[in-house]
């Protein structure tokens, strides 16, 4: 599988440094499941982080710190023994990419899908407070999402099928960035439903004549 659309290297760096908000980090992490090339790039960036950590001026830890670490280890071991930290085999068998699993414990079917015509959307619950929202969007084969622009930044990763819009064609693993400068009308390719992860830090704004009136009530 060849991935044609990747996150910018500066976004990968933010991910390697651990500074992205949860929603953006989720989109990048899902892309990485599909893309060995970007994984290798992130690995190289993490090596930069390791080299910088070697160079950092150390700050003395508390006198009892090592003992406290052993106490933590003991607590971790007892928690693992009671099974609180282990994944169930059902979760292992879930076909969703690993980064999405915590947000859809029971798989795709367990999510609350909201239907608008031939488009279905399931909101994922992010743990962090803040403006980011994440959804899985399922477009029936050949169906289009109404034309819209973006109030902020939107990252989209294709999980299944494919779609085409004014900026190009996107297949599984492809990563798309859209901002206020980009208006589009994504249309699922024929033959297969298209499922994407979409994360946004501001709501979209519909621009078509019929959909515009929905803007105040969405989100």
């Amino acid at each position: 599988m060849t991935i044609a659309h990747h996150p910018e290297d500066t976004l990968l760096l933010d991910h390697a440094a651990g500074t992205l908000d949860e929603g953006a980090a989720l989109a990048v992490a899902v892309h990485l499941t599909f893309c060995a090339e970007c994984r290798a790039a992130v690995t190289r960036m993490e090596a930069l982080g390791g080299a910088l950590l070697d160079d950092i001026a150390p700050v003395a830890v508390g006198r009892q710190s090592l003992d406290a670490v052993y106490a933590r280890i003991t607590r971790m071991e007892s928690r693992e023994a009671t099974g609180l930290l282990t994944e169930t085999s059902a979760e292992r068998a879930d076909p969703l990419p690993a980064p999405l699993r915590p947000y859809a414990r029971g798989g795709l079917r367990s999510l609350a899908w909201r239907r608008t015509g031939r488009i279905r959307e399931a909101r994922l619950g992010l743990a962090a407070a803040g403006p980011w929202r994440a959804s899985l969007i399922r477009m029936s084969a050949g169906a289009a999402v109404a034309a819209h622009t973006h109030g902020g930044t939107e990252y989209t990763v294709v999980l299944q099928g494919g779609y085409t819009d004014e900026t190009g064609s996107y297949a599984p693993g492809d990563f798309a960035r859209a901002g206020p400068d980009i208006g589009h009308r994504p249309c699922a390719d024929p033959g297969e439903d298209c499922i994407v992860l979409a994360v946004q830090d501001a709501p979209v704004r519909f621009t078509g004549p019929l959909m515009r009136f929905l803007n105040p009530v969405l989100r």
Partner: protein
């Protein structure tokens, strides 16, 4: 095999102390670093820091070796604490992040793979994830290496461990050779808990300038690593 690694442990205490004091003199951020020391080879006959740390992690994994762990702790806990403080954590939280990180090092020592990353890189990623968990209280979207959906990486060529060692040295040299302005941006990204747009704002620079500094630094890394990673 680990009998050899175990015998290595006590002989390197001196080297560890020397290195710790060397870095203790460094300024907290960018600025004048003792460049002259970059690239100095380890004492002849002794393993490099990277190999020594890998041997210590192996000793922890194989036999819960507390002496080996105490050495890892002495080197890395103060660095992880410093890393957390630079990211804006209060001292108590920074101490917590350092303790958590080292506890995870103990628990996960068996899954450390010296062919994939240097010990300092591995510990950086653990500390980074703990910082996210503790400061932001949000789950980290983590890759699962056993994920059946994970696109296969290209097959490694040659001896992966040797390649990883070489990579560590090349990354080290590339970082040492960065101009201060590029290093500053990288340190703000990795330690300052700032995204690149936030870095631009903090430094009062156009976003494009920050991006190009990041790209110049990444470009040097790529050039240095060309042919060693695939």
């Amino acid at each position: 095999m680990f009998a050899l690694q175990r015998s290595m442990v006590p002989t390197h205490v001196g080297a560890l102390d020397r290195r710790a004091s060397k870095f203790a003199e460094r300024p907290a951020r960018g600025g004048a670093r003792p460049r002259a020391e970059a690239g100095v080879s380890p004492v002849p006959g002794q393993a490099s820091d990277g190999e020594r740390f890998a041997a210590l992690v192996a000793a922890v994994a194989a036999q819960a070796d507390r002496t080996a762990f105490a050495e890892l702790f002495a080197y890395f806990a103060p660095r992880v604490k410093s890393f957390a403080l630079r990211g804006g954590a209060d001292p108590a939280t920074a101490e917590e992040i350092a303790q958590d990180t080292l506890a995870i090092v103990w628990r996960k020592a068996g899954s450390y793979d010296p062919s994939k990353a240097a010990v300092s890189t591995w510990i950086f990623t653990i500390a980074r994830n703990r910082r996210i968990d503790l400061i932001r209280r949000e789950g980290r979207a983590e890759l699962d290496p056993d994920d059946p959906g994970l696109a296969p990486a290209p097959a490694p060529t040659g001896d992966a461990v040797v390649a990883a060692r070489q990579t560590t040295r090349l990354v080290r040299d590339a970082v040492d050779g960065l101009p201060d302005e590029q290093r500053e941006v990288l340190e703000l990204a990795f330690f300052g808990d700032r995204t690149h747009p936030e870095i631009a704002e903090a430094l009062g620079l156009p976003l494009g300038t920050v991006k190009s500094r990041i790209r110049l630094a990444l470009g040097k890394l790529e050039t240095a690593l060309k042919g060693t990673l695939s």
